[in-house]
């Protein structure tokens, strides 16, 4: 269960990373930073407003703040590096992670912060003889809803159709009358929104601290690579795999130092057999 609720927030973060890479062909190192901003905003707002409403107002505030920061990053940084090679793109978005990390320390301080789950999802529940925290069930439900929502957006809306078209040929798309620059900003904002939702949802379940940007980025990256960058199903399967392996590693006292190593062993194994990931497509 701990594995699945970890898989839930990791999926939400990874699917955003994967969506942005699929359409924009940029690996956004700042994705974890957006997630961290959202978690801090949620904790601060929630602890100020109390159990009943705090989480929900925090959610709204976090998505708005993170979305705005995301749009700013796309316009100021990414637009300058789309045509550059991957190394330049990595350096550009890595610079953003340093700036955000510094800003978060200045604004929120470097102490860990915690919050309780919202009233609606507090307590625990027994099912088939096991006890589950209601909040971890909520995390799983939220991840499933987001998976369905992202799928509907991609396959049932004009926006989604344009995003899929941009994945295969953005030049032809602009010659067909679609404003690709605006589309990219929209995709990046959606990606930032997904990072934010991951950060909001994780906040009541873990201590919120200044290292969570790189912690989540490493795992989300592993998930996307295992599942295949750009694939939603891949992100889901990758998240369950990584969530379970990581949790298994962590709860066992003999292996908890190596939890991350387990994840990378699996990633290496997948990459050896299928370099484009379980559900990805080989390039060219």
């Amino acid at each position: 269960m701990g594995g699945l609720s970890n898989a839930a927030y990791l999926f939400i973060v990874a699917v955003g990373l994967s969506l942005v890479f699929g359409a924009l062909r940029v690996i956004n190192m700042a994705h974890g930073s957006l997630y961290m901003i959202a978690a801090f905003v949620t904790v601060v707002v929630a602890n100020r407003l109390g159990l009943a409403l705090g989480f929900w107002v925090g959610l709204l505030a976090a998505v708005i703040v993170t979305g705005a920061v995301g749009v700013l990053i796309e316009i100021v940084v990414l637009r300058r590096v789309y045509r550059e090679e991957h190394l330049i793109q990595l350096l550009g978005t890595y610079a953003v992670t340093l700036i955000v990390a510094g800003a978060v320390r200045i604004i929120f301080g470097s102490n860990y912060r915690t919050m309780s789950p919202p009233q609606l999802f507090s307590g625990s529940l027994s099912l088939a003889g096991y006890r589950y925290s209601v909040y971890s069930l909520f995390m799983i439900g939220a991840a499933i809803m987001i998976a369905v929502g992202v799928n509907l957006m991609l396959y049932r809306t004009a926006l989604g159709r344009n995003i899929r078209a941009a994945v295969s040929d953005s030049e032809l798309l602009s010659a067909s009358g679609v404003n690709v620059a605006r589309l990219f900003t929209t995709v990046f904002a959606i990606g930032a929104g997904l990072a934010a939702l991951g950060g909001v949802i994780v906040a009541p379940s873990q201590a919120v601290g200044t290292s969570m940007d790189s912690d989540v980025l490493v795992l989300a990256f592993a998930i996307s690579v295992i599942g295949g960058l750009g694939s939603i199903i891949g992100s889901a399967v990758g998240a369950v795999l990584v969530g379970e392996i990581y949790s298994f590693g962590l709860v066992n006292p003999y292996t908890n130092q190596f939890a991350l190593a387990f994840v990378f062993i699996i990633m290496t194994a997948v990459l050896t057999i299928r370099p484009w990931g379980l559900f990805g497509r080989a390039e060219q």
Binding site: A165, S168, L172, A175, S176, G177
Partner: protein, 241 residues
Amino acid sequence: MLKVAGLNVRYGKSHVVFDLDLTVESGQMLALLGRNGAGKTTSLMGILGLLPGAQGRVAIDGADVSRWPAHRRAQSGLAYVPSGARCFPNLTVAENLEIAARRRAGSNGSSSTSSRGTSWTKERVYELFPKLGELQANMAGGLSGGERQMLAVGRALMSNPKVILMDEPTEGLAPVIVQSIGRLVLELKQTGVGILLAEQNHQMALKVADRAAFMEKGRIVDEMPAARAINSEVLHRILGV
């Protein structure tokens, strides 16, 4: 209708198209003929606004669009049939058409109000190419070359363009399909659409074109009525026929 003046295109430091001047009138077709590497594709892409290294004046219906990004040029009436029947392979046939759907941009002078100038819809494209109707739910990536070429033409029509820029639309197609594209082009001209056709295959091009421009090493070296081009010395020299 489409007027290009002094267009120069560079890929980085290499200068590929030099001082291109051309005009495509409403209901007329200009064939841009030249050998491999002459600069035909580069010229079309420069006119469409797809190349950052393009400089010069491009006007649609008198409006200077030289500083506009590609999508705004498309919205104001330019459509593109790229070479190699390029489509969105991971989208269905229907989605490939929907993506370009657009009502005719602004008014288009008297020519567009001719009786046949009703606007293009998916249904009309399927009437024109019944095969596409049968395949509408299929992924475009799985179509044959000829089917994808029809799709590329259909997609261009869906934007109800004023001018269509076609890049070797008959390359590798069976003679029947070449003929049907030839007929379509004649019909389009009657509805007032202007066409700029880049071709190496002068046979089909000169049959349906009104004028021909000959391109060599990135420059237009001669331009004349299509009827005269068929027996011209420049045709023999440049295309080696």
